[in-house]
Symmetry: C2
């Protein structure tokens, strides 16, 4: 059989000539992780209506091209008839200048769509297929619809652990990979979900003071009221050029910086735009997201914190153990040493929730201040001890005491001050933090013992109050699990800097303030090592 | 245990007052089925950045509210600092006027999200849960991300047939339901995928001439090169007010109109914005989509066309039978009579692909023109015959002959002309259709027998040529399956009206022209009744 491949050779137009070009302009709309192209309805060369039903168009200039969703515009002050507008992110991604000529075409589906459809049909994918999908995602060739389809089709038990390894490794390969030229590069990570859990800012100076290399890059908060980068930013600059970061790490063995510009596992950053609104946290995707970032950042030894509790991400020991085995399998395949620590996730860690409040807690611990939250101190020492045991000269079980000595002696504080100074210190007095001046207090309606603090609801209230964008907003806890309170006492104070934020937080508290009071025997227990 | 529900009662602000309102304005951007709200970054009352990470905001005015995705704007000519802009569809949906004051808030997730998460976890849902999800979708409370998650979580075998009935019935209940005040209301539908398949425009006048009530409302093409509404629009007006439509049906027993404004199964129209870009056509969703539309339109007797063939949606008799049983089960639960007809879907029906070309084919059949495509005639008679057998006075098996008599005698043509005149006739001469003047021909590179015509690729080429938006664009076939051709003969001609469209179509043909030539014994056979 022959497939007829030719069109009439006598036709003059048989080579593709691009008859119609448009002038590029930037439209100052921030479409948040989605490329949008704006075309006026009366554009003389392209019939905007004809493109409208298409999911995507391809915008081309000199061999470069990006994909974008098309929005048809009826207002020349947004985009003139003869121009093609691009949203801010799309404009940056195309990398061209205003006034250049571009052409548009219906976008071909990304090359990996057939692999996506195989997964949607319930089939097992090969390494190459994961590579193709992840590359297309990292290069913004998937729409949100396609990314959601990929996430839902790969959640629950849809991926076996071999496939999760393929996915993780593909995510590493799709971006940059740092090489610190040392054999042992330590890092820690928490799977998240516990407000106030700022152990990194204690663990990093402790292990660096011990001499380990710990170049910590962190994310900003996405749905939580503070990330390590947001909190560190209260004390020091965190957005640093790569060269300066490398110098700091060389001199101080550590840093506490934002990892956003490093292009490490870029597919992860793209997928987040879909994962978070959907609150889809499947084990396979969590493993791939965390381990790909760490492998790309050059870490060889990772301590992983899995908190369990009634309102934590992981709610039972059985689930925690299953997750631990999956992390260990994939880490082994990636040739990364992994030490999983299962921790108490029944309530927020420390007292403050929000960047400035959490920075205060951290500095109190470093300063050995008697007001310092003991749970934050203990947890940080435990994690730091496990990291110190990565040092082959340290006996198993000795790490905790070494970490405590470093903290109690002030060497951790001194290391932290070096890091703060190197990154560029900011004006902050932990004794007099300038917290948001608009406040309200949440009171105990009756006496009793605190037997529940809902991590999710407290995070929610702190976010409504303005955290993390408003550094000095958040929640300051006065009581923790097991504490006895009398009617009318302040359970926590909410700080805000803007009246609308205060009102949003107040509304959230009225729905549920997150505290449960009861009898001493109602306090939930967790069976983790302390 | 008590949950503390109060906030400090001594605070003056403990009731929610809305301190900050914005002036509403319309932004003339067509965001295609997605509500978008535009807020200037320097808005004095809302910190746009604080909202940015949120998936959605709720826009409120006098108790009315809509959900929208927030885009942050840096250009006062798009939206001034003190205003809130809404995209065209969102503005219409809110139903307020420019200059009115609105407020915005972080949107609560739709009430049915917990049911969606149960389905994502692989659980079986109850009727009430489907009702809640479908209502939220119909009322635009789901983002595209959430709709995709619902579609992927309910595709393949994720729904049992009882759940498919729940889904279908929920879709009917979420919209309007027509009542024609007659016991027998007939309709036909095809599951789609076959270009040129315009049997409705023949079946409707035939069965109406027989006296059956057939108020046919059709969709416009979404991914195909022509829908019945697009093709009928070549001959007559199809966008008619509901009252006029009812009058026409009362007088002529039939209509051939666009069903878009009737609010029948509105969730279906919303879901399409996600289904189509993803090409996700799962049996359960197909059944729910088709039967909910038909039940809402008041049909009591449906003839359903399931074409099978190598490039049809259904590719084997086994698959067709499975689909038939599912349709029958759900139709029974809905108390609708259903007659499934499995048809030949190996190639396009008729010669023309595109609205005007298909209208020409239809009129040739009605006029008993010797040039008329026999396959379109035969298939239409077969389907019409099955519908006529809905008449209790007609013996099983006699319908075909009755339909043929109505067509051959000119009574079908006369009924069609009545319908055209009643809806408002347009100027169209089927003998001299004014097809797109820009053309190219696709030639046979060698002699042989046509043993494959790819439905999908031919539809694709016709769409690139401009169909259905450009009525006179499309593909005109000269040869069909089993025909013998010699080298250099024209297989088909492509018509366009715009140079860019012609070039796009030419590029598509160069990739693959959709024809396979070979030996007579290579022509695929299908085992369907003719």
């Amino acid at each position: 059989m022959d497939e007829t491949k030719t069109v009439d050779p006598t036709e003059p137009n048989s080579q593709f000539r691009d008859p119609s070009r448009l002038t590029l302009c930037r439209v100052l709309i921030d479409t948040y992780h989605e490329n949008v192209a704006y075309l006026h309805r009366d554009n003389p060369v392209y019939r905007a209506e004809g493109f409208k039903a298409m999911a995507k168009v391809s915008v081309r200039i000199n061999g470069q091209s990006i994909l974008a969703t098309l929005n048809v515009v009826d207002d020349e002050s947004i985009v003139p008839c003869t121009k093609l507008g691009l949203s801010k992110a799309a404009f940056t991604q195309l990398g061209a200048e205003e006034g250049h000529t571009v052409s548009i075409a219906q976008a071909d589906p990304p090359a990996s769509i057939s692999a996506l459809h195989r997964k949607l049909a319930g089939e097992r994918l090969q390494f190459d297929e994961f590579r193709a999908i992840v590359r297309d995602i990292a290069e913004h060739r998937y729409s949100k619809i396609e990314m959601t389809a990929f996430l839902v089709a790969t959640h629950r038990n849809e991926l076996d652990r071999e496939e999760i390894y393929y996915l993780t490794q593909s995510m590493v390969e799709a971006g940059r990979r740092l090489d610190w030229h040392e054999h042992l590069v330590v890092d820690k990570h928490c799977i998240g979900g516990i407000p106030g859990n700022r152990t990194s800012m204690l663990v990093v100076p402790i292990v660096a003071a011990h001499g380990l290399l710990c170049p910590k890059t962190s994310s900003r908060a996405i749905t939580s009221p503070a990330g390590t980068a947001d909190t560190m930013e209260v004390l020091a600059r965190v957005e640093l050029p790569n060269e300066q970061l490398a110098d700091i790490v060389r001199e101080h063995r550590a840093c506490l910086a934002w990892g956003g510009t490093a292009n490490l596992s870029p597919a992860d950053d793209v997928l987040i735009s879909v994962e978070r609104p959907l609150s889809l946290d499947s084990p396979g995707q969590m493993v791939a997201s965390i381990l790909s970032k760490k492998a790309a950042a050059g870490s060889s030894y990772l301590v992983l914190d899995i908190p369990i509790g009634p309102t934590a991400k992981v709610r039972s020991m059985q689930e925690a153990q299953r997750l631990r085995r999956l992390f260990e399998y994939v880490a082994d395949r990636m040739k990364m040493s992994l030490d999983v620590v299962i921790t108490d996730g029944r309530q927020p860690i420390g007292f403050g929730i929000g960047p400035m409040l959490e920075a205060r807690d951290v500095m109190q611990v470093l300063e050995n201040d008697p007001r310092a939250p003991m749970d934050l101190r203990q947890k940080s020492l435990r994690l730091a001890g496990r990291m110190i045991e990565a040092n082959p000269d340290v006996r198993g079980g000795d790490g905790f005491a070494i970490a405590r000595d470093i903290l109690d002696s002030g060497r951790a504080l001194s290391k932290m001050n070096d890091i703060i100074k190197a990154q560029g210190s900011r004006d902050f007095d932990y004794n007099k933090p300038e917290l948001g001046r608009l406040t309200f207090d949440v009171l105990a309606p009756a006496g009793g013992v605190v037997c529940g603090i809902d991590n999710f609801q407290l995070a929610h209230i702190a976010r409504f109050a303005g955290a993390p964008m408003v550094k000095n907003a958040g929640v300051d806890l006065r009581y923790k699990l097991g504490d006895e309170v009398t009617a009318g006492e302040v359970l926590y104070r909410v700080h805000a800097s803007y009246p609308t934020d205060l009102e949003f937080a107040r509304q959230a508290c009225l729905k549920s303030n997150g505290f449960t009071l009861g009898r001493r025997e109602d306090v939930p227990l967790v069976y983790v090592e302390f």
